[in-house]
Symmetry: C2
Subunit: 420 residues, 2 copies
């Protein structure tokens, strides 16, 4: 099957979709935020906000002013003037703007991997007599590798849920897997491949009824899809800040520990920045009474600068409005998929229902791997997931509808040129 690009403006034509996109952009209440991002020369369509958000202009300025004014200007005095508290003050702000988390429960740490490692150990320490970790085979590799290694090191066992691809991990599967032997349930709120949103509130309740704790990986939610950690009664959560929080390549991850657990849990990477008084430098590790106990070494203050700039924008826009635009962008992408990609035999790997659809769509075709470099060369940037998936992740504050239109149109054209 082929779809021949049409030049007229009849319904369904390229021109008609271009008109639609322009109209949507004109009516976009968040459209003004697009100017808040640093220009990317040659960029036609960025569909990889789910992998690496674009830099805000404010972040570029803030990096310079941090280096020149704070680092050069205050030097070591900066530690007394906000840097030392930054993992907690910025954590609180992130918690308020994106996580539904009251203050004192969120910290900025190292990579998502390291933060998850700490939180998995903390949860197991809180359930010493339970030997099972429930996880799922579709979770992101780092999550799976971590529980595997930690289970082996601590004499636990991983009980793997195998989700049906379309349905994701269901509450029923968790109810079946989590029992009185279960210490921890580790899941992703949004599946990194399908973009499906799990029912985190329901699943958290089910795990709790079995006496287990829950750790949610929020990497693909935070900043695009509202999360209500306190309301859902979540125990632990972690996520990255370089996707929809535009923190920059490898920016530090965050962790959340519910207030009711903090004083009773410990984490294994016992560093000097996590103690009651770091500059006392005493003989024994005495963990801080609060969430600071999850801090280990010196926090990467410089690397937190872009994240802070993006949180200002999300706060200004409001996360509900961000989510509404995200849904509108992926709905438009779905419409274009139906018109332009489905006829080529491209398969949709994401839910159609907006309520369970996260910030990205995944489409599958055997030629995806082959067309990716062609698209990148043209400034059309989705990302690829082995073996045959393209993920389309517009970023609500930086993406236009016309960018989505240009991206899907470019994918169609590349697939047609490759023989689809």
């Amino acid at each position: 099957m082929t779809a021949v690009p049409s030049a007229d403006d009849s319904p369904g034509s390229d021109a008609a979709y271009a008109d639609r996109a322009r109209a949507l952009d004109e009516a976009d209440p968040l459209g003004r935020f697009r100017d808040a991002f640093e220009p990317s020369p040659g960029l036609v369509s960025y569909l990889d906000g789910n992998s690496l958000g674009r830099p805000t202009r404010a972040a570029v300025d803030a990096l310079r002013s941090f280096a020149a004014d704070q680092w050069a200007g205050r030097l070591i005095r900066g530690w007394d003037e906000g840097w030392f508290e930054k993992p907690l003050t910025l954590g609180d702000r992130l918690g308020a703007v994106t996580l539904g988390a009251a203050p004192g429960q969120t910290f900025i740490g190292e990579s998502t991997t390291v933060v998850l490692y700490k939180l998995i150990h903390a949860a197991l320490g809180a359930r010493p007599d339970r030997r099972v970790i429930v996880a799922d085979t579709h979770n992101f590799p780092t999550d799976r590798y971590l529980v595997d290694g930690i289970a082996r090191a601590t004499g636990r066992e991983v009980r793997w849920i195998v989700p049906e691809q379309e349905a994701g991990v269901t509450p029923a599967q968790v109810a079946e897997a989590a029992g009185e032997d279960t210490a921890l349930v580790l899941l992703s709120h949004i599946d990194y491949r399908t973009g499906r949103i799990a029912d985190a509130g329901a699943i958290t309740g089910i795990a709790h009824r079995a006496g287990a704790l829950v750790l949610w990986d929020l990497c693909h939610s935070v900043g695009a899809v509202p999360v209500e950690l306190d309301e859902w009664g979540v125990d632990f959560a972690a996520g990255c800040t370089y996707k929809y929080l535009n923190g920059g390549p490898g920016s530090p991850a965050f962790g959340y520990v519910a207030a009711r657990h903090i004083a009773a849990v410990t984490q294994p990477i016992q560093g000097w920045m996590g103690v009651a008084d770091a500059f006392e430098m005493g003989p024994a590790y005495r963990p801080h009474a609060g969430i600071r106990r999850f801090v280990s070494g010196t926090p990467s203050v410089l690397a937190m600068v872009p994240l802070e700039a993006m949180l200002c924008l999300i706060e200004e826009a409001g996360l509900a409005a961000v989510r509404a635009k995200s849904v509108a962008l992926t709905s438009f992408a779905l419409e274009l998929y139906d018109a332009w990609l489905a006829p080529l035999g491209v398969r949709l790997g994401s839910p159609r229902e907006a309520a369970v659809r996260g910030g990205h769509l995944t489409v599958h075709h055997e030629l995806c791997r082959q067309v990716l470099p062609v698209l990148w060369e043209q400034g059309i940037i989705p990302d690829f997931r082995t073996p045959d998936g393209l993920r389309l992740g517009p970023s609500p504050l930086s993406s236009s509808y016309d960018e989505v239109r240009a991206g899907v149109q470019g994918i169609r054209n590349a697939l047609v040129a490759a023989g689809a």
Copy 2:
């Protein structure tokens, strides 16, 4: 006792020392590098290079150009164009310029605490039947807290060496402490309080004769004092990059694993970036054959930018010349201590012999805590270590002799004003 500032230029007078300092600066073969650093308005004397190095001008520019050109310009494509390999390529460069380490053994990781955590576990895993970790009570808190926690978690025991303050940890003490039950000896190459350099080559040999492995904390050496990891036969090393490597507040730490160990050791924070093929995203963690296995999650690429800029400067100056200037700066500081501080009852806590003296000097007086804020307010910035120490750590490429003179003179004046 008091030292009255004198206005004349007789030997030993303030004016005479100011002349000396100026002459030393004029003759300084590395003097031109001082212009390579971002100006710090109001800064009179920065003596805290041992805690936080100043930003290079190149770093400030590079942060901007990284954000605008690489992050905004290349977006996700950057991962294929150098970012993914950055922890290893920059590690190799750091190894070559500062560590005496051949390629393929050094990685850039998270905080020093996290990197030490990985390396301690790796070492214990390589000596499964030995249950003792030898460490010393004067090591930096994070090192002590980590071994304490890891020993408890893995059923090991810490055998604590108590160094004589003046002598530091001696080879004889290590010979006595490390036996056939010893898995690992963890020590700092330079004592963070006294600045004394341990005999790392001799101690490594002694530990090896007992069948133990050695992990050196290089935080206070790297970039100021030459280190020869390969030549000394060291097994593991780690260190921070925000002191004499001017990487910025909380910049990522590095780790070193000797080539002969890499394929046989594992680390506990099993993340997706440490596997043989990260983008295969396969079901099981299969560690990369090389040093990449010590990488866990997504590396903090943005946070490595300033480090790279500083390595260029050290490479250009040559580490031997950097060390020579460091010795000359601390020798001059010692001379000023003798003239101005010793008469006030200030005690020297660092070795006088240059061969065992690292990049900083520590002086002690009960009024140090009290005068610190006064000094900081004046733009004279040493750092304080509880209970009564001031550390004077000039940074070889950014510090002038006159800055050292102004700093010690300011300390003297503040102590006199406080009643010393």
